[in-house]
């Protein structure tokens, strides 16, 4: 009797144990994905807030928060309010992975937004296994064409046009405008520059002089020594600089010191007045007269309905900060993220969000002057550039007083003048 009892007890406890184990191993998120409640959505971002690469970029989270708070104050997205958890990665991939892990595992965010820097983005994606976990990484801030590869990065969407697109458009511009001039190119001798060389080749542009420079990193200033004498010797009338801000600063400052005059054409990465001002405010006027490229409306253009709205939101949220293109980038990023969350509906899931962007992303309302390229096969955001000239304050003004936008792809497609007309902004810039 005792024996049977004991056996019964053993059997019962075994069954109970198995049942308990099964129950505890059932997926916990059967109810909803992490970072979601019926009233909130939690998003996370890692950016360089400190360190040598932070000037300019460190304004992005504040700008995003300003727009999210504006949306929250007006009812949120499908009744949910957005919170943004911000981490400082110092532009170091190792730190970026550690911070992304905190966001995913500790803060349990629903999605990452606005990750910045190619190396960091790549490391985060691989180490935290975004694809395997199905975590959306919305609108990363890098033009490296690799992130457009949907197979390798199925949950990642970029927002910038690729560097190759930019070089192709720049190539067409040089052909149209400076066909009879002597051309020179200063470029960064790595994947960034090679993307550009491929683009120029496709555009059928050959330069009289090529000056590659080895940049240790965005964080190391380029010397620029010797560039100007090479340019002088070749008699370069038009000089393209496809590099980081530290390189443009070095080039502009050395040219000024040597009294060397050339028509500068700056790539979008190296033409940011805020970053140049962080090195030395005195360098900003040197941008005057240079040609530059952008896909968002100019931050100074108060006639643009998006800029007008963003300026008023930002002035209330961050009264002490100046409104520049980094702020426009951050707020635009937040704007598109809100559009995506809205479109994904009230029954929000990670997988659903990704599907929604692929299906409807190209028609999202957004501040950019180029079409968005999201589709089931492409995860690239903006697809073109407009060309402008820098004024003495370092602001880029569109040539001819209006935005003429060129679009293309990262492949062999032609560069065409875009007929895209940006749809009107939703009422008060809120999701509808």
């Amino acid at each position: 009797m005792i024996r049977t009892n004991r056996r019964k007890l053993a059997l019962t406890s075994a069954v109970l144990a198995v049942a308990a184990m099964t129950a505890s191993s059932l997926p916990a998120q059967a109810a909803s994905d992490p970072g979601l409640t019926s009233t909130t959505i939690k998003l996370g971002i890692t950016v360089p807030l400190t360190g040598i690469a932070s000037p300019g970029y460190n304004k992005i989270p504040g700008a995003m928060k300003a727009y999210f708070d504006y949306v929250n104050a007006n009812g949120g997205v499908n009744g949910r309010k957005i919170t943004l958890v911000v981490k400082d990665d110092q532009y170091i991939p190792t730190t970026a992975v550690a911070k992304a892990n905190e966001l995913i595992l500790k803060d349990k965010v629903f999605a990452l937004v606005g990750t910045l820097g190619t190396a960091s983005t790549k490391a985060i994606s691989a180490s935290t296994q975004l694809a395997k976990r199905g975590i959306p990484s919305l609108f990363v801030n890098t033009g490296f064409s690799g992130f457009a590869d949907k197979k390798a990065y199925p949950t990642t969407f970029s927002i910038l046009p690729s560097y190759q697109m930019e070089a192709k458009i720049m190539g067409k511009f040089l052909k149209d405008k400076y066909a009879d001039k002597k051309l020179a190119l200063i470029y960064q001798d790595d994947d960034f520059g090679r993307d550009a060389l491929a683009g120029f080749k496709q555009a059928g542009i050959t330069f009289g002089t090529y000056i590659p420079y080895a940049s240790g990193s965005q964080s190391l200033p380029a010397t620029g020594a010797g560039w100007i004498s090479k340019l002088k010797a070749s008699g370069a009338e038009v000089t393209v600089l496809f590099g980081v801000s530290s390189a443009s600063t070095a080039a502009l400052a050395n040219a000024y010191a040597a009294q060397f005059k050339t028509q500068w054409v700056l790539g979008s990465v190296g033409g940011d007045a805020t970053t140049i001002a962080a090195t030395n405010k005195a360098y900003v006027p040197l941008l005057y007269g240079a040609k530059g490229f952008s896909f968002a409306p100019a931050p100074t253009d108060a006639t643009d309905e998006y800029i007008k709205l963003f300026q008023s939101i930002y002035a209330t949220a961050q009264p002490t900060q100046t409104f520049d293109n980094n702020v426009v980038a951050g707020m635009s990023n937040a704007f598109v993220a809100v559009q995506a969350l809205q479109a994904a509906g009230s029954n929000l899931t990670r997988a659903g969000l990704i599907k929604t962007i692929e299906a409807k992303g190209a028609s999202f309302a957004n501040p950019f002057l180029t079409p968005l390229g999201y589709s089931a096969t492409s995860h690239v955001g903006a697809t073109g550039y407009w060309i402008g000239t820098y004024d003495p304050t370092g602001a880029l003004k569109p040539d001819g007083g209006k935005y003429t936008v060129y679009t293309t792809d990262s492949g062999a497609g032609p560069v065409v003048e875009s007929t895209y007309k940006r749809p009107a902004m939703p009422a008060k810039g809120l999701p509808n």
Partner: protein, 325 residues
């Protein structure tokens, strides 16, 4: 216990770690892996500075050699994971040997300057050769954990196991080396190189050897670091890494291996503690961003002021003093 049965102690410690890894959540497991990597890297500095008296401010560069060697051997030749770590150790040791040849002729600030220059310059070599992947770096994928560990076995737990095992083996081996003829020679050189030479120790050769061994360990740490972030890129080995490793070594106490955990845990824990504290009090962004750096620097200054040889050495000294009374 440690003195009598070191191997047994290490095995017990390993078993505790193993059990812990099944108990804590995944973020802690990831941080645990980072601690294990710092343990190796800091031990490598302690060996160099504390035991052989040479200063290195450029350990990040040696970590980079290890990281790139591991990634290249994996990507180009498809080497198995364990072999990539061996290659990383050998490559970094070779780099350390060459550096050591120069280092043996230098000392004090000159040596610090040389290694510092290396830390600044070396990672950017990646931008010169296409095979090294430029600014974006290379992927370093060690693959998923073996299937017999079960489906719930996460990638980070796998990283943690590999890193902890590597750290345990490295520290055990290093402890034995320190107690061997080589370790005693290194200590003698550090204490007084003229006296060491009179005692028949070849000072130059011993310095180079210490540099080589230390670099090999740094290479292992570099490969493990690359493993946890699944990539290698120049940005992953900034000057800040070299400095924080040196800081970790000072916090641990440069003259003894016993405190190596202290520095490693501090480096990983401080940023998170600050995050938690700051999120509780609504404080300005610039304070929150710069607080971790400030705290680590303060700790560094306090350590140098009050426990110059590290907390472990200090405790031992106090213990011995009391025993004498």
């Amino acid at each position: 216990m440690l003195k009598k049965h070191p191997l047994f102690t290490f095995i017990v410690f390993g078993a505790v770690l193993f059990l812990l890894s099944n108990r804590v959540d995944e973020l802690r497991v990831f941080q645990g892996a980072t601690v294990a990597i710092y343990v190796i890297a800091i031990a490598s500095i302690i060996l160099l500075t504390g035991y052989s008296g040479q200063v290195s401010l450029g350990h990040g560069a040696l970590l980079a050699i290890g990281g790139y060697a591991a990634a290249l051997s994996r990507n180009e030749w498809g080497a198995p994971v364990w072999l990539t770590f061996c290659i990383a150790v050998l490559a970094a040791a070779l780099g350390g040997y060459l550096l050591g040849l120069a280092a043996a002729r230098l000392s004090g600030p000159y040596l610090a300057g040389t290694t510092l220059a290396l830390a600044i310059g070396l990672p950017s070599i990646a931008n010169q050769f296409t095979v090294l992947g430029g600014e974006q770096g290379l992927l370093f994928d060690i693959g998923v954990p073996p299937t017999f560990l079960g489906e719930d076995f996460t990638q980070y737990k796998w990283f943690f196991w590999i890193a902890s095992l590597a750290a345990l083996i490295a520290i055990y081996w290093l402890r034995n080396v320190m107690n061997s003829r080589y370790g005693r020679s290194w200590k003698a050189v550090r204490g007084n190189d003229v006296a060491a030479e009179l005692a028949g120790i070849n000072v130059g050769r011993n310095k180079v050897l210490a540099f080589t061994v230390s670099a090999g360990l740094a290479g292992l740490a570099g490969a493990l670091l690359a493993m946890t972030i699944s990539t290698v890129s120049p940005g992953a080995f900034p000057l800040a890494l070299s400095f924080s490793l040196a800081t970790g070594a000072v916090l641990s106490g440069v003259t003894t291996l016993g405190g190596v955990m202290i520095g490693a845990v501090t480096l990983v824990a401080i940023p998170e503690i600050v995050d938690t504290v700051v999120s509780r009090f609504e404080s300005s962004e610039s304070v929150a961003n710069n607080l971790p750096g400030l705290l680590v620097s303060t700790l560094l200054i306090l350590t140098v002021l009050f426990v110059p040889n590290g907390p472990v050495e200090q405790m031992r000294a106090r213990h011995e003093k009391r025993a004498k009374r």
